[in-house]
Symmetry: C2
Subunit: 474 residues, 2 copies
């Protein structure tokens, strides 16, 4: 949902390399009906859910096997042409843009579950399966895959961007939940990283290096992830607070006490108004915490009581329960619809979303100063967040026809990132760097660390054909 | 504790590069009393707790600051001489051997706590602090650092080998618990990886790449790790079983039910006999599970009841409780002393320890077949394990004067590793590769993945001066 003030800074990156006709002919011959150079297909594969734009890729290959991916990458290597893996198209930072031209490899047909190892709490899947498809496929095992970035993203794409979402406070992110990968390298070779063992000290942690590499170091063709037993008991609650600060302080204390809360989402009063209008709800139009507790019946009750006590100290009102699955679904659907509700609240607007994450003790400082800045700017906005992790998203709602609004939104985002970095945080908790946050990455990691990333990239992809122009400029 | 059948396979690695006198003079001039080339000092820094041997380093620098480390590495880079970081000297696979000569950098004096951020459940330390020193320093915060590899290892060394131990089943390994690092690179530059934010998608996960890199990609000068609230209630229990299989099945079911058990250690009847003799205990000389439960008083009780029910199904006897801190300490001290108890049980013997880890569903198969092989071999052995993670250690007790025993022990280890790999596991759960397991790493990861590790190594350390000759041959 991020977008730059202008696309001017993209110009140096937008240097499409020509795709020789001979390569397109070779792809067409090899892939037949799995190949398309139709304009509509290419355009669809050349954008994501963000608002950055670039010319589309020259062609799309619909991979159906690891061998397909290998063959496509080998042709790309032969001709020195970029390849961009495409999952569900739900990334936000320009990850899918063909800023240096090339071809897209659509993984959507590689969506099979290869092996459910229920006894080990693991599953191995092809990368194109979406998280909802995965949970549907394993629903009879009593297990679930908890990572929930909102969008019905593909597992391969989630691994590539190190995604997380509402359950991460309890279950971790893709960093913690990917155990092993099959990867096609820049030379079209297949390697395996990790094993199904829960831990290992066997050499460099290539799995963790690949997770979050945004398609720049290899294309994932198999992903082994952890599963969890469906909790015996689940309860959800809504609690409203007089101020954002009171809500945030409640969260901070909850985390510091070590309560194993499964979800704790903040939505500000703006968001509540938008969600009420969009989803025909009657939530109190005050800052809310949406919470979920997983465990045994007694454990869930114990956790909820602790949090209720904390909330009371911060003048939290009306700890309302949603204990049936239907009520809970309604609640979380409302949360997931916050973005769409917000966009609908200002017809024709575009939303620019931020993604900072800070140490929990700095959350109130970071949030409150940024709320004050957003209020002072006059631009409509909403605020939602996985606040148990210190991660939150402002959405600035701007009129794309008014350049000043875009500039204001970008300025607010810059100020927020600078503040988060000062407070020991990160510019991106879960969306990734893509094209949009390259400058922020240097601010955060420092030139030396980014140069180390570049050295790794050059070593593993000397021709710079794997999703080039993302994360850093070479 | 691993040792090869012979050191013959070390020969190609043992190619000391000369350390020019000019460099030693420069080190002496720069470091004064922080420098030593005394034979005893060098010899002490040229070995670890394993039984591999190599000529000692030419000199030792006792670093007291990041600047010291930088300056030593810069001199090493200037002269193309290897540098080997030294923490507590407790590694097991030959990590500290100067197989290609060079100098040792002792981090022991860099043992300060730099920043306790209790509200964020993090602490930043220098790498030379040991885990016990760390826990002592933070004991008034109500927090603790759970990773417990047995030895009082340094935090930097634990990060470098991706260590874990008895608490990993609940709290994870160094992989999950290192948030950020300060690293001195092969050029003597300082970079920072990660932030104190709980999660991030900001570029390549350099932190996880460094964790487990065994000193071959950079020297850690600061380490930020997670802390955890001391549990409100802790209880420990011992339960004996008629067979190893019954004990293991109890563990498997416990894990599959999602019980958040904090520790679950297997010790076989051999170990119990040795521990009883060594620690003057009267534990039942049957396979035992040592367990610990962390949580609220009600939560702890609930967990224990679930496990007790499972144990009963597998004919577990005498679920004995250790609820006072003194009783618990006695129990865990006995566990940690198993190795010493075993070595004392056969005067003059050497122990060769294995470190495989398999998916939990394969644990019984892997263990029982290996027990049968060990029994058939006639060599005295003991078996302990962090079985909740699928990780266990056989210790073969051999007479170093009898080459046939060493060969038998190595054969058993090879058979065990091959079996673990067939079952989807790893050759090393927590000890690392070092010098000893290079061959196993290729068997496990495949030549392609190891070649990717080599490519990263060459890119980040083109002179091959950072702990060369470890993990893989270049």
């Amino acid at each position: 949902m991020n977008a730059p003030a202008t696309t001017a800074h993209l110009q140096p990156l937008t240097t499409p390399r020509p795709v020789p006709q001979a390569m397109l002919d070779a792809l067409a011959a090899r892939f037949g009906a799995q190949y398309s150079a139709a304009q509509a297909v290419c355009e669809q594969h050349g954008r994501d859910e963000g608002s950055l734009q670039a010319p589309p890729p020259a062609a799309v290959v619909f991979a159906e096997s690891t061998q397909d991916v290998q063959d496509a990458v080998r042709l790309a290597a032969q001709y020195g042409v970029p390849v961009i893996p495409y999952g569900a198209g739900s990334s936000l930072e320009g990850h899918l843009l063909a800023v240096q031209g090339g071809i897209s490899i659509d993984m959507g047909r590689m969506n099979r579950v290869l092996s459910v190892d229920a006894d080990d709490l693991t599953v191995t899947v092809q990368p194109g399966i979406t998280r909802k498809q995965l949970n549907e496929a394993i629903k009879d095992t009593g297990l679930f895959f908890p990572i929930d970035p909102g969008a019905d993203a593909s597992i391969g794409g989630m691994a590539a961007t190190r995604a997380s979402g509402t359950n991460a406070v309890r279950y971790g992110t893709m960093r913690e939940n990917v155990l092993a990968l099959e990867v096609v390298t820049a030379r079209g070779e297949v390697i395996r990283t990790g094993t199904r063992a829960k831990k290992s000290s066997a050499g460099y942690d290539l799995t963790r290096l690949m997770v979050g590499s945004e398609g720049t170091l290899g294309l994932f063709t198999e992903v082994t992830v952890r599963l969890y037993p469906l909790p015996e008991a689940v309860s959800a609650a809504i609690c409203s607070f007089p101020t954002i600060e009171a809500a945030v302080r409640t969260v901070i204390q909850t985390i510091q006490l070590g309560v194993p809360i499964a979800r704790v989402e903040l939505i500000d009063a703006n968001s509540v108004r938008m969600v009420n209008a969009h989803s025909k709800l009657r939530l109190r139009e005050e800052p809310l915490l949406l919470m979920e507790f997983h465990g045994s019946p007694a454990g869930v009750q114990e956790q909820a009581e602790v949090v209720q006590d904390i909330a009371r100290e911060w003048d939290g009102n009306a700890f309302e329960w949603a204990t049936t699955p239907e009520e809970r679904t309604r609640l979380w659907t409302a949360r997931h619809n916050a973005y769409f509700a917000a966009v609908q609240s200002r017809p024709g607007c575009k939303a620019i979303s931020t993604d900072t994450c800070v140490p929990i003790s700095r959350l109130a400082d970071c949030l409150l100063d940024s709320v004050a800045e957003a209020d002072a700017s006059g631009i409509p906005y909403f605020l939602v967040g996985h606040v148990g992790d210190g991660n939150f998203h402002f959405g600035y709602l701007l009129d794309p026809a008014v350049p000043a609004e875009r500039e204001t939104a970008e300025r607010l985002n810059h100020q927020l990132v600078a503040r988060a970095l000062r407070l020991g945080g990160t510019c991106t908790g879960e969306h990734g760097v893509g094209v949009h946050k390259m400058g922020f990455l240097v601010d955060e990691a420092g030139e030396g660390a980014v140069e180390m990333m570049r050295a790794i990239k050059r070593a593993l992809d000397p021709q710079n054909i794997l999703n080039p122009g993302k994360i850093f400029a070479l």
